[in-house]
């Protein structure tokens, strides 16, 4: 086991710090800023480009996400156990991944083009948005590069990420981390992983939080929602310790 301090920093400390920021950041953001938790849609300004670009990007990135769940989350032994040879797996991953990747990249390119050229959309873009787009684009491009250069063209020799990156990634969650696997990985994968973890750290502070609002509950809830006026007095929630003495205790806070 020869892992340098740098490797420990990059492949152990950095991921954990980023994940911690990711989790705590979301908790904090949700409590501090429910009002700001939105998609910040710009469809009102422009919808001709958005109509194509946004679904392309979003469906693409959903497929890419599922691909990562497969590739990173499922050990080789499992796919073999269900009788899937590595060749078939590779073929499926590359073909589906390519379609998903291309629609993501095309969608993103269109969206960024739209953001830059459509006046109202550009003026509604915050600095944080721009930074986030940069990091997101880096993640997506390095990911595409790994797929194309590494897996299709086999530039720089063969590298099976399922024996390297994936094992390292799963190790993070089992607290059995093996930084040397990443240290040996090609530079493309290293950059992709670093950029991705940085994006996780950035996530709670960007509009990306809307990912966690996927409204799946809509499928089952009744169409029309009824709510009672809370019997709270005034529009202001009372501060802890300052509740009125004659008041019944509040049941569940904001309803």
């Amino acid at each position: 086991m020869t892992t340098s301090t740098t490797d420990i920093l990059l492949w152990v400390v950095f991921p954990y710090v980023c994940l911690a920021v990711f989790v705590l950041g979301h908790v904090w953001r949700y409590r501090y800023d429910k009002f700001g938790w939105t998609t910040r849609s710009s469809q009102l300004y422009e919808s001709r480009l958005l109509r194509w670009a946004s679904p392309l990007f979003h469906f693409g990135i959903l497929a890419v996400f599922l691909g990562h769940v497969m590739g990173l989350g499922i050990p080789k032994a499992w796919t073999r156990a269900v009788g899937m040879t590595d060749e078939i797996y590779h073929f499926l991953a590359i073909s589906i991944g390519a379609v998903a990747g291309i629609s993501t990249v095309v969608g993103m390119a269109l969206l960024i083009y739209r953001r830059r050229t459509v006046g109202p959309v550009f003026s509604a873009t915050t600095r944080m948005d721009k930074f986030m787009y940069l990091v997101l684009a880096t993640v997506i491009f390095t990911g595409m590069w790994n797929t194309i250069a590494g897996s299709i063209l086999n530039l720089g020799g063969h590298y099976d990420y399922r024996d390297g990156v994936s094992v390292w990634f799963r190790g993070i969650f089992r607290f059995d981390i093996r930084p040397e696997l990443m240290a040996d990985a090609p530079i493309g994968f290293q950059l992709h992983a670093l950029a991705a973890f940085f994006l996780f750290a950035l996530w709670p502070f960007t509009r990306l939080v809307h990912v966690f609002s996927v409204p799946l509950g809509y499928m089952w809830r009744p169409y029309v929602v009824y709510r009672s006026r809370p019997d709270r007095l005034g529009s202001r929630a009372s501060r802890p310790g300052w509740e009125r003495s004659e008041r019944r205790p509040e049941r569940t806070g904001r309803r």
């Binding site: 429910k34 009002f35 194509w52 709510r227 007095l233 202001r236 009125r244």
Partner: protein, 607 residues
């Protein structure tokens, strides 16, 4: 039977003069903020006309409201739940800013800063979205008063439905105004379209609100509402809509648009309805029967069984009383003159309209005949197909029978009351011809023509027995105070992010406002309930009520001077629209006339 109470409104279109006061005061109160520049919770459209946003009534294009599936089940016109979810990335049928209008301001600074030049400097219009120069080519009222002529008005989707012949006869046109707010529907398709469940109907009074903390900006509600009365705040990324001024309603005050309506044509009151029957009524297969279905959902508040059920459902007794006194119920049920707007959208809208008789009256007047004679009016209603068909498209899904009946009642009232006003013998055959008794007709006349503030607005205040007079009641806060979200403040994550949004609903404290509007004392600093009117202060001495009385016996101060001054130039606080009649004490909805110590009206009283 599941009784629920609904706050509803009726507008008497004959009295609307199209002054837009309601729109402007509403905007000042609620949407005078960055991100809502293009938003008019209340707007007044000239009909025929395209409306705001343009052609919003063309549901084949905009896909708002509900429709029936082949199997007769009620479904959102924009599609089922799955389709709705799959299209959240780019809502396919959302009007873009072009359908509303691009908000703008003028470069006024140029008027003072421009260098000396040959030509007078001008203030060019600047887009509020981009800051660039722009050509103003559309707005919320571009076709006001038929401006733009047939070219614009013929794009009216309702007009297209009426028939083609209208295009030929456009010269003999008719016109009226249609003020619109959110309908606070019994079966709101906006709420049904909201994937996050952020739009809800308040169980107590049926007001439909957007929970700003739960809205995630999917903007499905914009498509879902067939009246296009949910708006997307493009700065905060949240949906906003008319709140029925619920902080005012909760303390018994009418909405801002009603309070300020110049024509005094708006009525507010409660109706009771059977929540169990809403779905069934909205699923009525025959569009022409939707009006009857919608009426049948409403419950008679005088029916003892309904009263019992209302009590069981937890509706307070004074609310039931208010429902019994409700002008809305009388106009819808007793006189049957109020009709819902576009019942065919199947949302069960709860802002009802009394269709205008004026197109008919005007047409007769142009011929030189007596436009108030019952005979002429009835004949004209029968022959003036186009206005009647047009009104039917608006209010009864194209069925001219109910519209004709309403117009005949209005016509009958007109000519019957004319006889009385001219001191002739009233003709009992006129009310009888429209199926009304003479006394009912006079009652209806009273309600439509001279009803005072507390008859037009019968609003029971919300129940919060512990209410502290210095805090207003509010549920969610969509709209905020200076420096808060939506007031141009910008948090670290963009517009309106950050905490503090749970703070006061509005700058105005509504309890104080009501006290001020209903108080009958002059300014009195010891209670702070009345206000000082400096318009009456001539600059000499101290304005009365400005400072607390001194108890050091200084003759120049204190009560003596106050009394002395107030006999000279009385300080009477302005009255809200609605007149100077005193209402029954303690109803909470009646403004009392401001009679100062000297009595009588004051010069500043109506300022």
């Amino acid at each position: 039977m599941r009784v629920m109470a609904q706050m509803a409104m009726v507008m008497n279109l004959d009295k609307c003069i199209g002054c837009h006061t309601c729109s402007v005061t509403c905007k000042q109160a609620w949407t005078n903020r960055a991100g809502t520049e293009y938003v008019w919770f209340n707007n007044v459209e000239t009909r025929p006309g395209q409306g705001y946003p343009r052609t919003y009534e063309d549901q084949e294009t905009w896909q708002g409201g509900w429709t029936l599936t082949k199997r007769g089940r009620l479904q959102l016109k924009a599609g089922g739940r799955l389709k709705n979810l799959l299209t959240i990335f780019a809502s396919p049928k959302q009007p873009s800013i072009g359908q509303y209008y691009e908000p703008w301001t003028y470069d006024y600074e140029n008027l003072t800063n421009a260098p000396l030049q040959e030509h007078t400097p001008v203030a060019r219009p600047k887009s509020l979205l981009t800051g660039e120069n722009m050509n103003v080519s559309w707005s919320a009222n571009w076709d006001d008063n038929l401006g733009g002529g047939p070219a614009l008005a013929s794009q009216d989707p309702v007009l297209k439905q009426v028939s083609d012949k209208i295009k030929l006869e456009f010269e003999q046109t008719f016109m009226f105004y249609l003020p619109r707010i959110c309908e606070h529907c019994l079966n709101p398709s906006c709420a049904a379209s909201c994937p996050s469940g952020a739009i809800y109907k308040r169980a107590e009074d049926g007001i439909v609100l957007v929970d700003q903390d739960k809205c995630r900006g999917w903007r499905k509600c914009v498509t879902g509402c067939p009246y296009k009365k949910v708006y997307f705040n493009h700065r905060t990324g949240k949906a906003e809509k008319c709140t029925f001024c619920f902080p005012r309603i909760e303390v018994g005050l009418p909405t801002v648009c009603s309070e300020t309506c110049v024509g005094r044509l708006r009525y507010i009151g409660l109706v009771l309805y059977d929540a169990d029957r809403v779905l069934e009524a909205a699923s009525e297969p025959d569009e022409h029967k939707l009006l009857a279905a919608q009426r049948s959902v409403l419950l008679d508040p005088h029916d003892p069984q309904v009263v019992r059920e209302a009590e069981r459902a937890g509706i307070p007794r004074d609310w039931v009383d208010a429902a019994q006194r409700s002008p809305i119920w009388r106009l819808i049920h007793d006189y049957e003159v109020a009709l819902p707007l576009h019942p065919e959208y199947r949302t069960m809208p709860m802002v009802w309209y009394i269709p205008p008789l004026s197109p008919v009256v005007d047409a007769i007047a142009e011929t030189g005949e007596d436009s108030e004679a019952a005979r002429n009016l009835f004949a004209a209603i029968d022959t003036l197909r186009i206005p009647v068909e047009y009104l039917a498209e608006l209010f009864t899904a194209g069925d001219t029978v109910p519209v004709t009946a309403v117009l005949q009642r209005l016509a009958a009232m007109r000519s019957y009351m004319r006889d009385i006003n001219l001191g002739r013998d009233p003709d009992p055959s006129i009310p009888a011809a429209v199926g009304m008794t003479e006394s009912a007709m006079q009652e209806m006349y009273r309600l439509l023509a001279i009803a005072k503030y507390d008859e037009r607005y019968v609003i029971p205040s919300a129940h919060a027995e512990q209410a502290h007079s210095l805090e207003e009641l509010a549920t969610e806060c969509s709209l905020d105070y200076e420096g808060g979200p939506g007031m141009g403040g910008s948090g670290p994550f963009g517009e309106g992010s950050g905490p503090g949004f749970a703070d006061p609903i509005a700058v105005e404290n509504f309890h104080m406002l009501q006290q001020r509007q209903t108080s009958d004392t002059v300014a009195d600093p010891s209670t702070r309930k009345a206000r000082v009117n400096l318009l009456n202060w001539d600059g000499k001495g101290r304005p009365s009520g400005m400072f607390p009385p001194r108890d050091d016996g200084d003759p120049a101060d204190g009560p003596q001077l106050r009394d002395a001054e107030s006999t000279g130039a009385e300080v009477v606080q302005p009255l809200p629209a609605g007149g100077s009649e005193s209402g029954p004490a303690g109803t909470g909805t009646a403004p009392r006339s401001g009679t100062g110590p000297g009595g009588g009206a004051s010069p500043g009283g109506s300022s």
